[in-house]
């Protein structure tokens, strides 16, 4: 029996979908059976980030409405045989699925899969309620900014009230040079304020944009710093004790020269 993990944040645009796609791919790289559930009904994105948008036939609403069986709606990943996506509906709204239906769906999926990762929409309304309904664990994504951390705190409170297991934190888009000059909260500051366990830190990385352009999660690229950080996170989820990656690898002079001249390795 697998486990259901929701990726959520409160604030929009902090990297939930990016995180879901990368961690899911990472778990599949290690041979696990993984399904990614896009619960952002009306604003589906996970399909595009995974590069699977052209293969969608049925979606999550079709499944709960009984138009198709769950198996029929699952889209197989291009790269890994045991990685699947259950896409959100694009034309419906959040109320098309209820928390109870979502719970039932997760129950069914975890019979088949080792990991069920649910990509949550932003906010604290029904879309969020749906996303957490069937989850045992939660990953909270935040950026080192006041508004994002504040919303993360709110979400942590709501999850606590729901009796969910202690959530863990992913700090995304950390800019080391800004931390160094004292213009960005560092890891310790945020852990101290939110008082939850740290799952990992993802640096700001241009390659994330490139990878979304291509529909290939950054974790597949060993040269991407964010990709490597996601790799570490997915190993931590599997119980491995992986130390935090040093983020002070400012681009070397050579690398900067290469980029200037257009020979970038990324």
């Amino acid at each position: 029996m697998g486990e259901v993990i929701v990726v959520t944040s409160g604030k929009g645009g902090v990297g939930k979908t990016t995180t879901t796609a990368n961690i899911g791919t990472g778990l599949a790289m290690d041979g696990h059976k993984v399904v990614l559930v896009d619960s952002d009904i009306g604003l589906r994105n996970l399909d595009v980030v995974m590069g699977l948008e052209n293969r969608i036939v049925y979606d999550i609403v079709d499944v709960v409405d009984g138009f198709c069986r769950l198996k029929q709606a699952l889209i197989k990943d291009k790269r890994f045989d045991d990685l699947y996506l259950l896409p959100a509906a694009q034309t419906k709204d959040k109320t098309a699925v209820s928390p109870e239906q979502m719970k039932g769906l997760c129950e069914e999926l975890k019979q088949e899969f080792d990991y069920v990762l649910v990509d949550s929409p932003a906010g604290i309304e029904q879309g969020f309620r749906n996303a957490i309904a069937g989850a045992e664990k939660a990953i909270i994504v935040t950026t080192p900014e006041v508004a994002a951390v504040r919303d993360a705190d709110r979400i942590i409170g709501l999850l606590e009230a729901e009796g969910k297991e202690g959530p863990s934190l992913v700090i995304n888009r950390l800019r080391h040079h800004m931390v160094k000059r004292g213009d960005m909260m560092d890891i310790e500051d945020m852990i101290d304020i939110l008082a939850i366990d740290l799952l990992g830190v993802i640096p700001e990385d241009e390659y994330i944009v490139v990878s979304t352009n291509r529909g290939e999660p950054a974790i597949l690229n060993k040269n991407s710093l964010a990709g490597r950080a996601y790799r570490n996170i997915s190993r931590r989820i599997q119980g491995e004790d992986v130390p935090l990656m040093p983020l002070d690898t400012e681009p070397s002079l050579l690398e900067r020269l290469r980029r200037l001249m257009g020979f970038s390795s990324k």
């Binding site: 504040r150 004292g182 213009d183 960005m184 304020i193």
Partner: protein, 99 residues
Amino acid sequence: MNLFNRVLGREGPSKEVAKERLRLVLVHDRVGVSPQFLEVLKEDLIRVISQYMEIDDASMRVDLSGSNNSVALVANIPIKRVKRGLIAKTRRQEETVPR
């Protein structure tokens, strides 16, 4: 802020400002999320204070009050009467405390 930055008109690192603002906003958020929080705290306060004085718990008020850089728990507790027995007792204790 050092002289160099002041001359340039630059302010100090903004991280400390962010942390401080976040700390204050979270005090309000965390209390505000649970309307019961202040009620439960109020009941506990009444229980403890009632051992020392008779208070008017109906018109007692407990609130958060914030200014620019601090949040305070403000309790307004009308006292009806102070219990005499306890005053005598604390005075006796004071006298027996060795210097």
